[in-house]
Protein backbone atom coordinates (compact mmCIF):
# COMPACT_ATOMS: atom_id res chain seq x y z
CA UNK A 1 0.00 0.00 0.00
CA UNK A 2 1.64 3.16 -1.11
CA UNK A 3 -1.40 5.33 -1.22
CA UNK A 4 -0.78 8.85 -0.11
CA UNK A 5 -1.94 9.26 3.45
CA UNK A 6 -3.05 12.82 4.20
CA UNK A 7 -0.92 14.66 6.73
CA UNK A 8 -2.41 14.56 10.22
CA UNK A 9 -1.40 18.20 10.63
CA UNK A 10 -2.94 19.86 7.58
CA UNK A 11 -4.80 17.17 5.66
CA UNK A 12 -2.98 17.57 2.35
CA UNK A 13 -1.26 14.62 0.71
CA UNK A 14 2.16 16.35 0.82
CA UNK A 15 4.34 17.06 3.82
CA UNK A 16 5.44 20.50 5.00
CA UNK A 17 8.74 21.20 6.77
CA UNK A 18 9.27 24.75 7.90
CA UNK A 19 12.56 26.43 8.81
CA UNK A 20 12.43 29.41 11.14
CA UNK A 21 14.97 31.51 13.00
CA UNK A 22 16.83 34.80 12.93
CA UNK A 23 18.75 35.90 9.86
CA UNK A 24 22.15 34.32 10.14
CA UNK A 25 20.89 31.41 12.25
CA UNK A 26 21.94 28.93 9.57
CA UNK A 27 18.40 27.83 8.69
CA UNK A 28 18.73 28.41 4.92
CA UNK A 29 21.89 26.32 4.70
CA UNK A 30 20.19 23.54 6.62
CA UNK A 31 17.01 23.74 4.53
CA UNK A 32 19.01 23.34 1.33
CA UNK A 33 20.93 20.37 2.72
CA UNK A 34 17.78 18.65 3.94
CA UNK A 35 16.05 19.18 0.59
CA UNK A 36 19.04 17.68 -1.19
CA UNK A 37 19.02 14.63 1.08
CA UNK A 38 15.27 14.14 0.70
CA UNK A 39 15.60 14.22 -3.08
CA UNK A 40 18.45 11.69 -2.86
CA UNK A 41 16.12 9.43 -0.83
CA UNK A 42 13.76 9.49 -3.80
CA UNK A 43 11.10 11.85 -2.46
CA UNK A 44 9.52 14.48 -4.62
CA UNK A 45 10.80 17.67 -3.02
CA UNK A 46 9.88 21.29 -3.53
CA UNK A 47 11.97 24.00 -1.90
CA UNK A 48 10.70 27.54 -1.42
CA UNK A 49 11.67 30.59 0.61
CA UNK A 50 9.92 33.70 1.80
CA UNK A 51 11.95 36.76 1.01
CA UNK A 52 10.61 40.12 -0.01
CA UNK A 53 8.86 39.90 -3.36
CA UNK A 54 8.69 42.71 -5.87
CA UNK A 55 5.22 43.64 -4.70
CA UNK A 56 6.37 44.11 -1.15
CA UNK A 57 9.79 45.57 -1.77
CA UNK A 58 8.52 48.14 -4.29
CA UNK A 59 5.71 49.18 -2.02
CA UNK A 60 7.90 49.29 1.04
CA UNK A 61 10.47 51.37 -0.78
CA UNK A 62 7.76 53.79 -1.84
CA UNK A 63 6.24 53.89 1.63
CA UNK A 64 9.60 54.42 3.29
CA UNK A 65 10.39 57.34 1.05
CA UNK A 66 7.17 59.03 2.04
CA UNK A 67 7.37 57.90 5.65
CA UNK A 68 4.00 56.26 5.27
CA UNK A 69 4.58 52.80 6.64
CA UNK A 70 3.23 51.89 10.04
CA UNK A 71 3.41 48.51 11.79
CA UNK A 72 -0.14 47.72 10.64
CA UNK A 73 0.38 48.41 6.94
CA UNK A 74 3.81 46.81 7.10
CA UNK A 75 2.20 43.69 8.52
CA UNK A 76 -0.64 43.65 5.98
CA UNK A 77 1.72 44.08 3.05
CA UNK A 78 3.79 41.12 4.18
CA UNK A 79 0.63 39.09 4.70
CA UNK A 80 -0.44 39.93 1.14
CA UNK A 81 2.89 38.74 -0.14
CA UNK A 82 2.76 35.55 1.89
CA UNK A 83 -0.80 34.76 0.77
CA UNK A 84 0.33 35.05 -2.84
CA UNK A 85 3.32 32.81 -2.22
CA UNK A 86 1.19 30.35 -0.35
CA UNK A 87 -1.25 30.12 -3.28
CA UNK A 88 1.48 29.74 -5.87
CA UNK A 89 4.45 28.07 -4.25
CA UNK A 90 3.26 26.12 -1.23
CA UNK A 91 -0.30 24.92 -1.74
CA UNK A 92 0.08 23.39 -5.25
CA UNK A 93 3.02 21.10 -4.37
CA UNK A 94 1.37 20.25 -1.06
CA UNK A 95 -1.77 19.18 -2.86
CA UNK A 96 0.28 17.30 -5.43
CA UNK A 97 1.92 15.22 -2.71
CA UNK A 98 5.37 16.79 -2.55
CA UNK A 99 7.61 17.24 0.45
CA UNK A 100 7.69 21.02 0.73
CA UNK A 101 10.71 22.57 2.41
CA UNK A 102 9.88 26.12 3.41
CA UNK A 103 12.50 28.64 4.42
CA UNK A 104 10.33 30.93 6.62
CA UNK A 105 6.61 30.56 7.11
CA UNK A 106 3.88 32.35 9.06
CA UNK A 107 5.94 32.16 12.28
CA UNK A 108 8.27 34.76 10.79
CA UNK A 109 5.33 37.14 10.64
CA UNK A 110 4.13 36.31 14.14
CA UNK A 111 7.54 37.19 15.49
CA UNK A 112 8.28 40.24 13.38
CA UNK A 113 4.86 41.86 13.69
CA UNK A 114 4.64 41.26 17.43
CA UNK A 115 8.08 42.80 17.85
CA UNK A 116 6.72 45.86 16.03
CA UNK A 117 3.81 46.14 18.44
CA UNK A 118 0.98 44.49 16.50
CA UNK A 119 -1.55 42.49 18.47
CA UNK A 120 -0.24 38.88 18.24
CA UNK A 121 -3.74 37.45 18.12
CA UNK A 122 -4.68 39.73 15.24
CA UNK A 123 -1.61 38.60 13.29
CA UNK A 124 -2.44 34.95 13.86
CA UNK A 125 -5.98 35.44 12.62
CA UNK A 126 -4.75 37.03 9.44
CA UNK A 127 -2.44 34.09 8.76
CA UNK A 128 -5.06 31.47 9.60
CA UNK A 129 -5.16 30.51 5.91
CA UNK A 130 -1.71 28.92 6.36
CA UNK A 131 -2.17 25.43 7.83
CA UNK A 132 0.14 24.06 10.54
CA UNK A 133 3.25 22.36 9.12
CA UNK A 134 4.25 18.78 9.82
CA UNK A 135 7.43 19.99 11.47
CA UNK A 136 8.49 23.56 12.31
CA UNK A 137 12.20 23.84 13.08
CA UNK A 138 13.38 26.80 15.08
CA UNK A 139 17.10 27.47 14.71
CA UNK A 140 17.99 28.99 18.03
CA UNK A 141 21.14 31.05 18.23
CA UNK A 142 22.32 34.07 20.27
CA UNK A 143 21.93 37.43 18.52
CA UNK A 144 25.66 38.23 18.73
CA UNK A 145 26.41 35.04 16.76
CA UNK A 146 24.16 36.15 13.92
CA UNK A 147 25.82 39.56 13.96
CA UNK A 148 29.28 37.99 13.82
CA UNK A 149 28.20 35.83 10.88
CA UNK A 150 26.82 38.89 9.10
CA UNK A 151 29.99 40.86 9.62
CA UNK A 152 32.17 37.90 8.63
CA UNK A 153 30.29 37.41 5.36
CA UNK A 154 30.28 41.19 4.75
CA UNK A 155 26.52 41.28 4.42
CA UNK A 156 24.90 44.64 4.79
CA UNK A 157 22.37 45.07 7.56
CA UNK A 158 19.20 46.48 6.12
CA UNK A 159 17.04 49.17 7.66
CA UNK A 160 14.02 47.03 8.57
CA UNK A 161 16.09 44.05 9.66
CA UNK A 162 17.72 46.37 12.16
CA UNK A 163 14.29 47.67 13.17
CA UNK A 164 15.50 51.21 12.46
CA UNK A 165 11.85 52.21 11.92
CA UNK A 166 11.26 51.47 15.61
CA UNK A 167 13.51 54.25 16.83
CA UNK A 168 15.29 51.94 19.27
CA UNK A 169 18.67 53.47 18.55
CA UNK A 170 20.29 55.77 16.00
CA UNK A 171 23.17 53.37 15.60
CA UNK A 172 22.54 50.62 13.04
CA UNK A 173 24.46 47.90 14.89
CA UNK A 174 22.97 48.82 18.23
CA UNK A 175 19.46 48.92 16.79
CA UNK A 176 20.05 45.59 15.05
CA UNK A 177 21.07 43.90 18.29
CA UNK A 178 18.11 45.27 20.18
CA UNK A 179 15.54 44.49 17.52
CA UNK A 180 16.90 41.03 16.79
CA UNK A 181 16.88 40.46 20.55
CA UNK A 182 13.16 41.20 20.55
CA UNK A 183 12.63 38.79 17.66
CA UNK A 184 14.56 36.11 19.49
CA UNK A 185 12.46 36.51 22.63
CA UNK A 186 9.32 36.19 20.49
CA UNK A 187 10.70 33.07 18.78
CA UNK A 188 11.57 31.56 22.15
CA UNK A 189 8.03 32.25 23.31
CA UNK A 190 6.16 30.85 20.29
CA UNK A 191 8.51 27.86 20.05
CA UNK A 192 6.82 26.60 23.21
CA UNK A 193 3.33 27.75 22.24
CA UNK A 194 3.51 26.18 18.77
CA UNK A 195 5.56 23.15 19.76
CA UNK A 196 8.34 23.92 17.35
CA UNK A 197 11.35 21.62 17.15
CA UNK A 198 14.11 23.72 18.67
CA UNK A 199 17.54 23.22 17.14
CA UNK A 200 20.64 24.45 18.94
CA UNK A 201 22.19 26.22 15.99
CA UNK A 202 25.52 27.07 17.59
CA UNK A 203 26.76 23.56 16.73
CA UNK A 204 28.57 22.38 13.57
CA UNK A 205 26.53 22.15 10.37
CA UNK A 206 26.93 18.34 10.08
CA UNK A 207 25.68 17.70 13.61
CA UNK A 208 22.60 19.81 13.04
CA UNK A 209 21.85 18.21 9.67
CA UNK A 210 22.07 14.74 11.22
CA UNK A 211 19.57 15.80 13.85
CA UNK A 212 17.15 17.16 11.22
CA UNK A 213 17.28 13.91 9.26
CA UNK A 214 16.57 11.93 12.43
CA UNK A 215 13.58 14.17 13.10
CA UNK A 216 11.98 13.94 9.67
CA UNK A 217 12.58 10.22 9.15
CA UNK A 218 9.66 9.05 11.31
CA UNK A 219 7.40 11.78 9.88
CA UNK A 220 8.02 10.34 6.42
CA UNK A 221 7.53 6.71 7.43
CA UNK A 222 5.31 5.15 4.76
CA UNK A 223 5.35 8.30 2.65
CA UNK A 224 5.75 7.28 -0.99
CA UNK A 225 8.95 7.96 -2.91
CA UNK A 226 9.02 8.42 -6.68
CA UNK A 227 9.90 4.77 -7.10
CA UNK A 228 7.04 3.41 -5.01
CA UNK A 229 4.66 5.72 -6.85
CA UNK A 230 5.80 4.42 -10.22
CA UNK A 231 5.45 0.79 -9.15
CA UNK A 232 1.96 1.57 -7.97
CA UNK A 233 0.91 3.03 -11.28
Amino acid sequence: MNHEVPSPKHGYPGRLFVFEGLDGSGKSTQAALLAKWLAAQGYRVFQTEWNSSELVSNTIRRGKKKGLLTPTTFSLLHATDFADRFDRRILPPLRAGYVVVCDRYSFTAFVRDSARGCDPEWVRTIYSFAPPPDVAFYFRVPVRVTLQRKIASRLKINYYEAGMDMGLSDDLHDSYERFQGRLKREYDRIAVQDRMTVIDSTRPVEKIQAELRETVRPVLAGFPTMETLMHDA
Binding site: G63, T72, L76, A83, S128
Partner: protein, 254 residues
Protein backbone atom coordinates in the same frame (compact mmCIF):
# COMPACT_ATOMS: atom_id res chain seq x y z
CA UNK B 1 -13.17 61.90 23.59
CA UNK B 2 -11.17 59.65 21.35
CA UNK B 3 -12.13 56.94 18.93
CA UNK B 4 -12.01 53.23 19.62
CA UNK B 5 -11.10 50.53 17.16
CA UNK B 6 -13.04 47.32 16.57
CA UNK B 7 -10.94 45.45 19.06
CA UNK B 8 -7.27 45.47 18.17
CA UNK B 9 -4.50 47.96 18.69
CA UNK B 10 -3.12 50.29 16.07
CA UNK B 11 0.55 50.51 17.04
CA UNK B 12 2.79 53.41 16.14
CA UNK B 13 0.12 56.10 16.13
CA UNK B 14 1.22 59.55 17.18
CA UNK B 15 -0.06 60.41 20.64
CA UNK B 16 -2.99 62.72 21.04
CA UNK B 17 -6.73 62.53 20.93
CA UNK B 18 -8.80 62.08 17.84
CA UNK B 19 -11.40 64.74 18.30
CA UNK B 20 -12.94 64.82 14.85
CA UNK B 21 -16.01 62.94 13.75
CA UNK B 22 -15.97 59.92 11.51
CA UNK B 23 -19.03 59.56 9.30
CA UNK B 24 -19.35 56.68 6.87
CA UNK B 25 -21.65 56.49 3.88
CA UNK B 26 -22.03 52.94 2.59
CA UNK B 27 -24.06 51.54 -0.27
CA UNK B 28 -23.70 49.76 -3.58
CA UNK B 29 -22.49 51.39 -6.77
CA UNK B 30 -25.43 53.40 -8.03
CA UNK B 31 -27.03 53.85 -4.62
CA UNK B 32 -26.30 57.58 -4.86
CA UNK B 33 -23.38 57.49 -2.46
CA UNK B 34 -21.11 59.97 -4.20
CA UNK B 35 -23.97 62.41 -4.65
CA UNK B 36 -24.88 62.16 -0.98
CA UNK B 37 -21.27 62.54 0.16
CA UNK B 38 -20.96 65.71 -1.93
CA UNK B 39 -24.22 67.14 -0.57
CA UNK B 40 -23.34 66.30 3.00
CA UNK B 41 -19.86 67.75 2.67
CA UNK B 42 -21.26 70.99 1.31
CA UNK B 43 -23.81 71.23 4.11
CA UNK B 44 -21.29 70.45 6.87
CA UNK B 45 -18.90 73.07 5.55
CA UNK B 46 -21.68 75.65 5.46
CA UNK B 47 -22.26 74.75 9.12
CA UNK B 48 -18.62 75.59 9.76
CA UNK B 49 -17.08 72.12 10.04
CA UNK B 50 -13.83 71.23 8.35
CA UNK B 51 -14.45 68.14 6.21
CA UNK B 52 -12.02 65.69 4.68
CA UNK B 53 -13.57 63.17 2.33
CA UNK B 54 -12.01 59.83 1.65
CA UNK B 55 -12.93 56.75 -0.34
CA UNK B 56 -11.63 53.29 -0.99
CA UNK B 57 -8.54 52.70 -3.05
CA UNK B 58 -7.31 56.25 -3.18
CA UNK B 59 -4.11 55.77 -1.26
CA UNK B 60 -0.82 56.02 -3.04
CA UNK B 61 0.77 53.08 -1.31
CA UNK B 62 -0.59 50.08 -3.17
CA UNK B 63 -3.12 51.41 -5.68
CA UNK B 64 -0.72 50.63 -8.51
CA UNK B 65 -0.50 47.02 -7.36
CA UNK B 66 -4.28 46.81 -7.12
CA UNK B 67 -4.74 48.17 -10.62
CA UNK B 68 -2.17 45.75 -11.98
CA UNK B 69 -3.81 42.82 -10.22
CA UNK B 70 -7.23 43.81 -11.54
CA UNK B 71 -5.95 43.98 -15.08
CA UNK B 72 -4.22 40.65 -14.90
CA UNK B 73 -6.78 38.97 -12.60
CA UNK B 74 -3.79 37.14 -11.25
CA UNK B 75 -4.08 37.31 -7.49
CA UNK B 76 -6.06 34.88 -5.37
CA UNK B 77 -9.02 35.92 -3.22
CA UNK B 78 -7.09 35.96 0.07
CA UNK B 79 -4.25 37.90 -1.46
CA UNK B 80 -6.62 40.51 -2.89
CA UNK B 81 -8.44 40.83 0.43
CA UNK B 82 -5.15 41.47 2.20
CA UNK B 83 -3.97 43.92 -0.45
CA UNK B 84 -7.18 45.91 0.00
CA UNK B 85 -6.73 45.78 3.76
CA UNK B 86 -3.19 47.15 3.42
CA UNK B 87 -4.51 49.94 1.24
CA UNK B 88 -7.25 50.72 3.72
CA UNK B 89 -4.77 50.66 6.62
CA UNK B 90 -2.62 53.14 4.78
CA UNK B 91 -5.54 55.50 4.31
CA UNK B 92 -6.69 55.07 7.87
CA UNK B 93 -3.31 55.97 9.32
CA UNK B 94 -2.12 58.53 6.84
CA UNK B 95 -5.30 60.32 5.93
CA UNK B 96 -8.09 59.62 8.41
CA UNK B 97 -6.00 59.81 11.59
CA UNK B 98 -4.32 63.15 10.79
CA UNK B 99 -7.69 64.65 9.84
CA UNK B 100 -9.36 63.40 13.01
CA UNK B 101 -6.54 64.58 15.23
CA UNK B 102 -6.88 68.03 13.62
CA UNK B 103 -10.51 67.97 14.69
CA UNK B 104 -11.91 67.63 11.17
CA UNK B 105 -14.90 65.59 10.18
CA UNK B 106 -13.93 62.66 8.01
CA UNK B 107 -16.56 61.72 5.49
CA UNK B 108 -15.81 58.23 4.24
CA UNK B 109 -17.32 57.18 0.92
CA UNK B 110 -17.43 53.47 1.88
CA UNK B 111 -15.40 51.88 4.63
CA UNK B 112 -14.39 48.45 5.88
CA UNK B 113 -17.90 47.05 5.41
CA UNK B 114 -17.72 47.04 1.61
CA UNK B 115 -14.25 45.53 1.76
CA UNK B 116 -15.45 42.84 4.15
CA UNK B 117 -18.51 42.03 2.05
CA UNK B 118 -16.42 41.74 -1.11
CA UNK B 119 -13.92 39.46 0.60
CA UNK B 120 -16.63 37.26 2.09
CA UNK B 121 -18.55 36.72 -1.14
CA UNK B 122 -15.22 35.69 -2.65
CA UNK B 123 -14.76 32.97 -0.06
CA UNK B 124 -13.32 34.51 3.10
CA UNK B 125 -15.05 33.53 6.32
CA UNK B 126 -17.05 36.19 8.11
CA UNK B 127 -14.99 35.71 11.24
CA UNK B 128 -11.72 36.16 9.37
CA UNK B 129 -12.92 39.33 7.63
CA UNK B 130 -14.28 40.77 10.85
CA UNK B 131 -11.04 40.18 12.71
CA UNK B 132 -8.89 41.36 9.84
CA UNK B 133 -10.50 44.79 10.05
CA UNK B 134 -10.49 44.96 13.85
CA UNK B 135 -7.90 47.75 13.60
CA UNK B 136 -10.40 50.16 12.01
CA UNK B 137 -11.94 52.96 14.04
CA UNK B 138 -15.55 52.69 15.03
CA UNK B 139 -17.34 55.50 13.17
CA UNK B 140 -19.67 57.95 14.87
CA UNK B 141 -22.28 57.13 12.28
CA UNK B 142 -22.69 54.60 9.49
CA UNK B 143 -25.34 55.48 6.94
CA UNK B 144 -26.28 52.73 4.53
CA UNK B 145 -27.97 53.88 1.35
CA UNK B 146 -30.33 51.08 0.51
CA UNK B 147 -31.52 50.87 -3.08
CA UNK B 148 -33.27 48.10 -4.98
CA UNK B 149 -31.10 46.22 -7.49
CA UNK B 150 -33.29 47.52 -10.38
CA UNK B 151 -32.54 51.09 -9.31
CA UNK B 152 -28.82 50.30 -9.04
CA UNK B 153 -28.90 48.80 -12.50
CA UNK B 154 -30.58 51.83 -14.04
CA UNK B 155 -28.16 54.23 -12.38
CA UNK B 156 -25.12 52.16 -13.38
CA UNK B 157 -26.26 52.05 -17.00
CA UNK B 158 -27.08 55.74 -16.91
CA UNK B 159 -23.62 56.51 -15.57
CA UNK B 160 -21.35 54.17 -17.49
CA UNK B 161 -23.59 53.12 -20.35
CA UNK B 162 -22.88 49.56 -19.26
CA UNK B 163 -22.15 47.40 -16.24
CA UNK B 164 -18.76 47.32 -14.62
CA UNK B 165 -17.00 43.92 -14.65
CA UNK B 166 -16.06 44.09 -10.96
CA UNK B 167 -19.27 45.67 -9.69
CA UNK B 168 -21.08 42.82 -11.43
CA UNK B 169 -18.89 40.26 -9.69
CA UNK B 170 -17.92 38.69 -13.01
CA UNK B 171 -14.75 37.32 -11.41
CA UNK B 172 -16.97 35.06 -9.28
CA UNK B 173 -18.29 33.15 -12.30
CA UNK B 174 -21.85 33.36 -10.99
CA UNK B 175 -23.15 33.65 -14.51
CA UNK B 176 -21.67 34.32 -17.91
CA UNK B 177 -24.41 36.85 -18.45
CA UNK B 178 -23.35 40.27 -17.17
CA UNK B 179 -26.86 41.32 -16.11
CA UNK B 180 -27.64 38.10 -14.34
CA UNK B 181 -24.25 38.16 -12.64
CA UNK B 182 -24.90 41.73 -11.49
CA UNK B 183 -28.14 40.74 -9.75
CA UNK B 184 -26.67 37.59 -8.20
CA UNK B 185 -23.66 39.53 -6.98
CA UNK B 186 -25.69 42.36 -5.45
CA UNK B 187 -27.86 39.78 -3.74
CA UNK B 188 -24.82 38.13 -2.16
CA UNK B 189 -23.43 41.46 -1.00
CA UNK B 190 -26.79 42.44 0.45
CA UNK B 191 -26.83 39.25 2.55
CA UNK B 192 -23.50 40.25 4.09
CA UNK B 193 -24.58 43.83 4.76
CA UNK B 194 -27.63 42.37 6.44
CA UNK B 195 -25.76 40.73 9.35
CA UNK B 196 -23.24 43.58 9.46
CA UNK B 197 -26.03 46.09 9.86
CA UNK B 198 -26.99 44.47 13.15
CA UNK B 199 -23.49 43.93 14.49
CA UNK B 200 -22.05 47.22 13.37
CA UNK B 201 -25.13 49.39 13.81
CA UNK B 202 -25.93 50.71 10.33
CA UNK B 203 -28.60 53.34 9.80
CA UNK B 204 -30.49 52.28 6.71
CA UNK B 205 -31.73 55.09 4.52
CA UNK B 206 -34.15 54.39 1.71
CA UNK B 207 -32.18 55.41 -1.38
CA UNK B 208 -34.91 54.62 -3.91
CA UNK B 209 -35.83 58.30 -3.71
CA UNK B 210 -34.65 61.64 -5.02
CA UNK B 211 -31.22 62.88 -3.79
CA UNK B 212 -32.73 65.77 -1.80
CA UNK B 213 -35.04 63.40 0.05
CA UNK B 214 -32.17 61.10 0.88
CA UNK B 215 -30.04 64.05 1.96
CA UNK B 216 -32.71 65.39 4.30
CA UNK B 217 -32.88 62.08 6.11
CA UNK B 218 -29.09 61.78 6.33
CA UNK B 219 -28.80 65.32 7.72
CA UNK B 220 -31.25 64.43 10.45
CA UNK B 221 -28.95 61.57 11.45
CA UNK B 222 -25.80 63.69 11.28
CA UNK B 223 -27.06 66.76 13.11
CA UNK B 224 -27.16 65.29 16.64
CA UNK B 225 -23.45 64.37 16.39
CA UNK B 226 -22.61 68.06 16.63
CA UNK B 227 -25.02 68.92 19.45
CA UNK B 228 -23.28 70.08 22.59
CA UNK B 229 -23.17 67.28 25.09
CA UNK B 230 -23.30 64.59 22.41
CA UNK B 231 -21.53 61.58 23.79
CA UNK B 232 -19.75 59.23 21.54
CA UNK B 233 -20.98 55.75 22.17
CA UNK B 234 -18.15 53.65 23.58
CA UNK B 235 -17.33 50.24 22.23
CA UNK B 236 -20.42 48.87 20.54
CA UNK B 237 -21.55 45.47 21.60
CA UNK B 238 -19.21 43.41 19.53
CA UNK B 239 -20.80 40.32 18.05
CA UNK B 240 -20.10 37.44 20.35
CA UNK B 241 -20.91 34.96 17.66
CA UNK B 242 -20.69 35.70 13.98
CA UNK B 243 -23.12 33.84 11.75
CA UNK B 244 -21.20 30.98 10.21
CA UNK B 245 -20.18 31.01 6.59
CA UNK B 246 -18.06 28.58 4.61
CA UNK B 247 -14.52 27.62 5.36
CA UNK B 248 -12.77 28.32 8.61
CA UNK B 249 -10.14 30.47 6.97
CA UNK B 250 -10.43 32.49 3.83
CA UNK B 251 -10.83 30.63 0.58
CA UNK B 252 -8.01 28.37 -0.44
CA UNK B 253 -7.79 30.34 -3.61
CA UNK B 254 -5.53 29.43 -6.43
Amino acid sequence: MTLNTYGTTLPGLPPGRLNGKLIVVEGADGSGRSTEVALLKEWLEVQGHAVVDTGLRRSTLVSEEIDRAKQGHTLGATTMALLYAADFGDQLENKIVPALSAGSTVLADRYIYTLMARAIVRGASREWARRLYAFAFIPDLVVFLDARPEILLHRAIGKYGSLDYWESGMDLSLSRDLFESFFLYQEKLAAEFEWMSRDYGFHFVDANRRPDQVDAEVRALVEPLYQPGHRRAGLPRLPRRVPPSTPAGPAASG
